[in-house]
């Protein structure tokens, strides 16, 4: 193992080809989308031979799986970034997470598609399943903070999780597809207000007072 060294090691023994391929892979993904993604394109971007990626990721889906795992981490960051600017009450926090969810989808559409609508990322790989589970858990805890009950133990609260997730995910997915033109055409402030209004209907209220 060559440890992490950033300098270009010229020619053989790149130094940190794994990370370089992930960076190249994300550019490839951003520019060509999941469906236009090629392993050889990534290798070219990283300046290595076409077969080099195999030694680090096995096959093309292996690299995509690593990218999806990275995506889930960034996904959570987007949610937390919104929450940092929001009021601290549980409901405002969950609402902010929802807006962050949409932020992520619009900022990284190809990554979003890879994570939620592709069969190429392999969720049986621990790094990915754990990242995805962490994102789900974060939502569950957000609902728990409002409901006061652990959704894993309280089926009614788990339905709130499903409802919140479904609503936010659907809005994000359709906006990313260019559908939802009325929403996309709005200026930012109005769009956020509209999203908040819609998401708010899906969020649970305080305790059991629904």
């Amino acid at each position: 193992m060559a440890e992490d060294r950033t300098g270009d090691r010229s020619a053989y023994h790149h130094g940190d080809l794994r990370q370089a391929l992930i960076d190249a892979g994300e550019r490839e993904l951003t520019e060509k989308g999941v469906e236009g993604f090629t392993l050889r394109g990534c290798a070219k971007r990283a300046g290595v031979s076409h077969a080099a990626p195999a030694h680090h990721f096995g096959d093309a889906n292996g690299l995509l799986t690593a990218l999806a795992a990275l995506g889930f981490q960034r996904f959570l960051s987007c949610q937390k970034a919104r929450q940092a600017e929001a009021a601290s009450d549980p409901r405002s926090q969950l609402m902010a997470a929802g807006l962050g969810y949409v932020d992520f989808a619009l900022a990284y559409p190809a990554l979003f598609r890879l994570m939620f609508a592709s069969s190429r990322a392999d969720f049986s790989v621990a790094a990915l399943s754990e990242a995805a589970d962490a994102a789900f858990d974060y939502l569950v805890r957000g609902v728990e903070a409002i409901r006061g009950r652990d959704p894993y133990r309280d089926p009614v609260s788990m339905l709130d999780v499903m409802g919140t997730w479904g609503t936010v995910h659907g809005l994000a997915d359709l906006m990313l597809s260019g559908r939802m033109k009325p929403l996309l055409a709005m200026p930012k402030a109005a769009r956020e207000a509209a999203l908040s209004e819609i998401i708010g209907r899906a969020l649970p209220e305080r305790a059991d007072d629904r």
Copy 2:
């Protein structure tokens, strides 16, 4: 033009290769998904040479575009099938359409992905854009029936359209992905009740009484 004739015309001049390729394409799509779809595979299923499809659909995306258009028609059929079994009041009808939306996604997952999460279907083709617009229109009219206002002219009602669509779409998409395990694990009746509960929160109420 050979008109429509169903008998096998043996060898050259298939008779209705276009339709045969659409049927073959749907099988290919069902078995391999959008990402595993190959034009040559479709040709083989239809019993013609690998280049035959080009004369009817141009390229691979052309066939996928035709399949997506067909998908949107079936999509509407699924919604109407549910509505035929539901109460006739506008709210029950829109709710039923939502359940039909989910039915479609679960029954034809590859088609759903092609229609909503792929860049391979070309929405600039009239046959597809019209089919997609018809499906959107159907939703708009469903909301209109509840609100009493034309969402195309009333922005507030259009937000109801977005909310309803987003919620139903998100639930369908996530269930199709195998996420939403708590929902998927439920027996059918309970699942439908849960879906109805969630969708109900997104649907508009009678007139302006929100």
